[in-house]
């Protein structure tokens, strides 16, 4: 459930998705900068941060 909420946040407002994943860390500020470069870099970075935070399947 949280995952889908985060994914939605990543799609609509990438920095919000990163904030929900790692909080106010460096990645969050970096993501704001990347999103200001016309969204797409920020989206890729946010998707990466979200994917990194997921538990690994064996």
């Amino acid at each position: 459930m949280t995952y889908w909420l985060k994914l939605l946040a990543v799609i609509i407002i990438p920095p919000l998705g990163v904030f929900l994943t790692v909080g106010l860390r460096g990645a969050f500020w970096l993501n704001i900068l990347l999103t200001l470069c016309f969204y797409i870099p920020g989206f890729i970075h946010a998707a990466y941060i979200l994917a990194r935070s997921l538990p690994r399947h064996a």
Partner: protein
């Protein structure tokens, strides 16, 4: 005369589309206008790409009517700006609401066509030609 009528009809249609896209209604108490472009554009990239379709159609029609290359370039620039900045989530949506690219495009097209028509009348003025012949 038929040509003139066709252009008037085309312009009326373009004006309607531009109004729908940029000025569907006004936020009460302000002069800020909101249109379909702004509503669809809330979805980051896909929405802005969708809202570019009518803009490109308008540029195509303007080319067919006979707008000058400079005006077409200006319209393309406006559309590209609308797409690029509009795709940034929150800031871009605010920009979209305030900028009204389609209305600007329509106004530029109308000015351009009026100027061309005026110039054409100056060159082919029947009255002046008649006087010259007398």
């Amino acid at each position: 005369m038929h040509i003139q009528q066709d252009i008037d009809q085309d312009l009326a249609l373009l004006r309607k589309v531009a109004m729908r896209m940029d000025a569907l209604f006004t936020i009460p108490g302000t002069r800020v206008t909101v249109g379909l472009d702004n509503i669809i554009g809330l979805l980051p990239v896909v929405g802005d790409l969708l809202s570019v379709v009518p803009s490109v159609w308008m540029i195509h029609r303007a080319h067919k009517i006979g707008a000058s290359p400079g005006t077409l370039a200006y319209m393309s620039f406006n559309t590209a700006l609308d797409l690029l900045i509009g795709s940034i989530p929150i800031i871009g949506d605010i920009f979209d609401v305030l900028y009204n690219a389609n209305l600007r495009n329509y106004a530029a097209l109308e000015t351009n066509l009026n100027r061309r028509a005026a110039r054409a009348k100056q060159v082919f003025n029947p009255q002046l030609d008649a006087e010259a012949w007398i």
